[in-house]
């Protein structure tokens, strides 16, 4: 009853209709009336608008009218930037196409200013190279491309984390993993399959209820497929109307932040609980730059959680830990299963400020055996930017049953997209031989509401392709849902193509063992820490991450501290350090 949707980005008075109409095949039913367009442009100019998004019915079948509208706008108001739905996302469903195009138009002036400022400061700093931007799909593109399609940049930050996870996985020859990034207010998880982050075309921006699907604007462009969970170090714990312990999605954020920050926070948070459990070091938070208030955290936790539940504060703190871990594991599990992955077979790659503190127990709940903790947990996303390949993707709609499609037409669409892709990558100086083309179709059983992504063969399609595509569909369907419905007709809706360059080479500096260096050199003072296996806090060894070295190994329980985060590993596990100080922890159970 109190669901809240975001206000439309374009108020109704700034939405203009023009006289024109295409039929579903793209034939002109009513020709475009230029006078109508001119009038609309004049009215919008009068409102002082900076950007116009154009979306006409069935335009993905025939771009003629949209292009004519663009010509008139450019003639009458060259200062206004124009986004056409046929350029941004030429595919069926006018609402999704319109919102995606509007967001493109809306962000265009902002991104242009932003890029301008970056460029200026780069020039001042003496940079003479080209400027590239990361896209939501995990690729990078030239600034010009990004400027045309700013809607493709929206989710680039979180995407970089998954790219980084893929990079670190690659270092240990592991291409199948779950990236787990837990920060102050949210946790994000994404799957990497065969070294490639899994992407989606179902993502939303500006959600009013951040974790509620359907409360934002749909953007139908490929983006790295992340599940975002209202669980972070700042997530607040409370007792609900049924007397149960709940954690998040409410968050104290960074300010006032957890009670232990001493910045005025009054609600018990996950970080307060971690501190009370001895998992965090009050004197080495952010490398010691911020002293944590243990008695304050204890007081609030006791008063607001432990006392109402009738348990001691350590049990209360462990309860918060368990509940937030359960929430993250549940969300990640559903995310994996929906994408046909069994989480227990993946490697967990943990980063972000709170990720390494909680990953061990998230892994336990998901049945995951191995956890990789990259060095520099707080900076993993930045590293992701450096390892992303050039890439761009395209889409065209051509609906039909596999046994009835005109494959000549489809080949034409695919060739057109490939040509565009190659030309964009050539502009970025990528030679032809470094370009990989991947082609997909979105297919479904006739009548079904959800499409699945099916890879297409590399060679041109022909009259016999129907059967081949059918087999590919059955295979993809079976992976996702463990069954097929042989015999039911299958149709394709959208045809997609990715043009990807090779991943830029990036080498980390190895940190070999120094002569005479031993694990004892990395020791910090042990402290009492709680692990449920012992029933009470026990003395736990603590290591300095920066003093570890290649080949070092040790058993849990152990705590490994670095500036931005803390790795906490439970009993029945052992850790091995690689040449770059990454930590691979294996749980034995």
């Amino acid at each position: 009853m109190v669901i809240v949707f975001p206000d439309p980005l374009v108020p109704r008075r700034l939405r203009k209709e023009v006289t024109e109409r295409l039929d579903p095949q793209g034939n002109v039913l009513i020709p475009l009336d230029p006078a109508d367009v001119e009038l609309a442009v004049e009215e919008l100019k009068g409102e002082g608008i900076e950007a116009i998004a154009v979306c006409l019915l069935h335009s993905f079948r025939n771009p003629k009218h949209e292009r004519a509208v663009a010509d008139i706008i450019r003639r009458r108001a060259p200062e206004i930037s124009v986004s056409l739905s046929v350029d941004v996302i030429p595919q069926i469903r006018e609402y999704e196409r319109a919102t995606t195009t509007i967001i493109n138009a809306y962000t265009q002036p902002l991104l242009r200013d932003y890029i301008g400022r970056i460029e200026e400061s780069l020039v001042q700093a003496g940079y003479t190279g080209k400027l590239y931007l990361m896209l939501s799909n995990g690729g990078i593109a030239l600034r010009e491309t990004a400027e045309h399609f700013p809607v493709r940049v929206l989710e680039s930050g979180p995407a970089a984390g998954v790219i980084a996870a893929a990079f670190f996985g690659d270092l240990i020859d592991e291409g199948h993993l779950l990236s787990f990034d837990m920060g102050g207010t949210t946790a994000k998880a994404g799957i990497v399959r065969d070294g490639h982050p899994v992407t989606t075309i179902d993502f939303e921006v500006a959600r009013m209820q951040r974790f509620k699907a359907g409360s934002g604007f749909p953007v139908k462009l490929p983006a790295i497929d992340l599940i975002e969970i209202g669980a972070g170090g700042g997530s607040i714990a409370r007792i609900d109307s049924m007397g149960l312990l709940k954690v998040g999605p409410g968050s104290a954020g960074a300010s006032p932040g957890p009670v232990c920050y001493g910045l005025g926070g009054t609600e018990p948070t996950v970080t307060d609980a971690d501190l009370l459990l001895g998992h965090l070091n009050p004197d080495y938070f952010l490398g010691g730059d911020m002293a944590l208030d243990v008695p304050g955290a204890q007081r609030v936790l006791e008063e607001k959680i432990a006392a109402p539940l009738g348990v001691d504060p350590v049990r209360g703190a462990w309860g918060i830990h368990q509940v937030v871990d359960e929430n993250m594991a549940n969300a990640a599990r559903v995310h994996c299963i929906e994408r046909g992955e069994d989480p227990s077979r993946l490697l967990l790659v943990a980063f972000g400020g709170a990720g390494p503190v909680h990953a061990y127990w998230v892994a336990e709940k998901l049945g995951i055996k191995r956890i990789l903790y990259p060095i520099g947990a707080g900076a993993a996303s930045a590293l992701g930017f450096l390892t992303a390949p050039f890439s761009f993707d395209f889409v065209r709609t051509a609906i039909g049953r596999l046994d009835e499609l005109d494959y000549g037409l489809i080949n034409g669409l695919l060739e057109e997209m490939e040509e565009e892709g190659r030309s964009l990558l050539h502009q970025a100086d990528v030679p032809d031989e470094d370009i990989t083309i991947r082609r997909f179709a979105e297919m479904r059983y006739v009548g079904q509401a959800h499409e699945i992504y099916v890879p297409l063969p590399g060679e041109p399609l022909n009259a016999t392709s129907g059967e081949q595509l059918r087999d590919a569909f059955d295979k993809a369907y079976e992976q996702l849902l463990h069954r097929t419905n042989v015999g039911y007709p299958v149709e394709a809706l959208n045809w997609r193509l990715e043009a990807v360059a090779g991943r830029p080479p990036l080498r980390l500096q190895p940190v070999p063992q120094q002569p005479g260096q031993t694990l004892e050199d990395a020791r910090r003072p042990s402290r009492l820490a709680y692990f449920p296996e012992y029933g009470e806090p026990v003395t736990c060894p603590v290591f300095d991450r920066y003093r570890l070295f290649e080949g070092a190994d040790f058993k849990g329980p152990a705590i490994i501290e670095e500036r931005e985060s803390t790795v906490v590993m439970g009993p029945n596990s052992h850790a091995k350090v690689d040449a770059y100080l990454n930590l691979l922890v294996t749980r034995e159970s």
Binding site: M1, R12, G243, L244, Q322, L480
Partner: protein, 572 residues
């Protein structure tokens, strides 16, 4: 049962276990959505998923789906266990039924449930319910005179026996429905989804070392019940009644609810409601009525608690046999969805009197009518046209436009409509002044105009409500504009067939939402915004809201507004 020690768990463990069960129910729901063949499940999510204990009590439900059909499924699981008690079930069995009286009120909804065994012992059930693509029978609800007209009845049967499909039943269903591959595919998706739930439930029990989920279920129900009882205790004691009018089929009908609250007990009775109708299938079975009563009570009093026995124990619902909301066999029931809005409005109306300002005003309705005919190439087609009214104003918030509540159907893409049918959408727009005026405004209604692109005439099976009765506002808020169905500008009978000749224009809209509190108390700036956006006309701003607007300057004329509102105050 063996005399095992009941598992003991503290409140934190309870939370962990419960949230895992909810996650399992959600996995089950998503498995169904992804594997389903029809848009009723896939796009509108007219389905539900639940986990049940060994007595058939629901313990967790998927977040995805419709609460209304969930309660139908939940009632039905107990009926399944009555017919097939645990000693008559074995691993690999799958139960099926669509009995409207035992489940969710019409035959389109098919329930599938799987008994779950752990170490050879029956520990519970997993179940799903979903709206199938077809169930045979007549097409238009207006023609239905008894439930026999409405297609295939599937009593509670074993769809699979010990892991093997019961081929006779499969064949019987396949040969009775219009789109067998969709219907059978959806059933298969339901079986697969229940199986996912069952496997996960067993893994969960292993992980936590449980041999039964009975104690856990009791704890969940107990806490739910305590939370609801507390919310009822916090209400004033008393009795309140609300009668809501409907167009009806051949004559007007009404739903009357009387709510009595005493201490921690709540009773809702429907004495005074019209008798069930002979034609048209808008009758509700008791399980269906209960679902929307619980929904209204729960969303108002305890929005964050789950639907389970704890809720059912706390609110007693009674209705005379043979009335519109407790129809007796073999009444026609296929279009019982039409009642949702009216059952909800009657209950919300009582709650609004007991708890002024905490309840949503009456809402526009989700409606469907069936268009049938021939395409240009002579092929037969049928297409369901959807209409979505405006949402009623909510405490502190305006109602959304073209968003019905509690049941909502999505707005279908024009490009999709035109690609899959010969329907040509001439226009689709929000109707100015259709949302009920109020301090908080009701949502506007949407009006759609179509033609059929064919040289053959088509038939529209109208089944439209709220054409004579508008959605009421509360506490001085005005009502929303009534629904309309017209052909070429002339009203047609909203519950009969009409012909659409080539080129004829069909116009339909489904009713605006009601407002909350007197419109002259609305913030004048909000009225200005509504006028600029076209939701409210200049005249209505002046007449209903008593706000003068200087359109040239896009500003409120505060002086004149004050004068208008002052006159109103003294003039009554």
């Amino acid at each position: 049962m063996e005399a095992g020690k009941p598992p003991t768990f503290d409140v934190i463990t309870l939370e962990l276990m419960w949230s895992r069960l909810i996650s399992i129910a959600q996995e089950q729901a998503r498995a169904l959505v992804h594997a389903s063949f029809t848009s009723a499940i896939g796009e509108m999510e007219d389905m539900a998923s639940g986990l049940y204990d060994n007595h058939g009590n629901i313990i967790a439900q998927g977040v995805t789906g419709s609460q209304g059909v969930l309660i139908g499924l939940t009632r039905g699981i107990k009926n399944m266990l009555d017919k097939y008690p645990p000693e008559r079930l074995e691993p690999g069995d799958v139960l099926i039924s669509n009995d409207p009286w035992m489940f969710s009120g019409h035959k389109f909804d098919i329930s599938i449930a799987i008994p779950v065994f752990f170490n050879g012992r029956f520990v519970g059930m997993t179940g799903t319910i979903s709206h199938g693509a077809d169930i045979g029978g007549i097409k238009s609800a207006g023609d239905s005179e008894e439930v026999y007209d409405e297609g295939l009845e599937i009593p509670i049967l074993k769809y699979y026996k010990a892991g093997k499909p019961n081929e006779d039943i499969h064949e019987m269903i396949r040969s009775n429905v219009r789109m067998p591959h969709l219907v059978m595919g959806d059933l298969m998706a339901q079986v697969a989804a229940c199986d996912v739930g069952a496997r996960k439930l067993v893994a969960f029990m292993k992980e936590y070392g449980l041999t039964s989920i009975e104690e856990l279920s009791k704890a969940v129900m107990g806490r739910t019940e305590a939370a609801i009882k507390k919310a009822i205790r916090d209400m004033p004691d008393g009795t309140w009644s609300q009668r809501v009018q409907m167009d009806g089929i051949d004559e007007p009908l009404s739903v009357k609810a009387t709510m009595t609250v005493q201490g921690e007990d709540m009773e809702i009775d429907f004495t005074g409601t019209s008798p069930q109708t002979e034609r048209g299938g808008i009758n509700g079975t008791k399980t269906y009525t209960d679902a929307y009563v619980y929904h209204a009570v729960k969303t108002t009093l305890v929005p964050d608690v789950p639907n389970n026995e704890g809720l059912f124990h706390s609110v007693r619902i009674t209705a005379p046999e043979g009335c519109l909301v407790n129809a007796t066999f073999p009444a026609p029931v296929m279009s019982r969805y039409m009642l949702i809005s009216f059952i909800a409005s009657a209950v919300f109306g009582c709650l609004a009197q007991a708890l002024p300002g905490r309840v949503i005003a009456e809402c526009g309705v989700s409606q469907m009518q069936l268009l049938s005919g021939r395409t240009r190439t002579g092929e037969r087609f049928v297409y369901w046209l959807m209409g979505v009214g405006g949402m009623g104003a909510r405490p502190g918030l305006d109602g959304y436009h073209a968003t019905a509540f509690p049941s909502n159907v999505g707005n279908v893409s024009v490009e999709i409509i035109e690609n899959v049918s010969p329907v040509h959408v001439v226009s689709k727009r929000l109707v100015t002044d259709s949302g009920g005026a109020g301090k908080w405004r009701g949502g506007c209604d949407q009006e759609i105009t179509i033609t059929v692109d064919s040289q053959y005439p088509a038939t529209i099976n109208c089944f439209w409500e709220r054409t004579t009765v508008d959605a009421a506002g509360y506490h001085g808020g005005k009502s929303g504009r009534r629904a309309v169905v017209k052909v070429n500008g002339r009203d047609v009978h909203p519950k009969r067939k009409s012909e659409l000749k080539p080129g004829d224009k069909l116009i339909y809209s489904s009713c605006g939402g009601g407002g909350l509190f007197p419109p002259e108390t609305r913030d004048p700036e909000a009225v200005l915004e509504d006028v600029l956006e076209g939701y409210v006309s200049l005249e209505a701003a002046r007449r209903d809201y008593r706000v003068a607007i200087d359109l040239a300057n896009k500003a409120v004329d505060f002086e004149e507004t004050a004068a208008l509102r002052k006159n109103r105050g003294s003039g009554g």
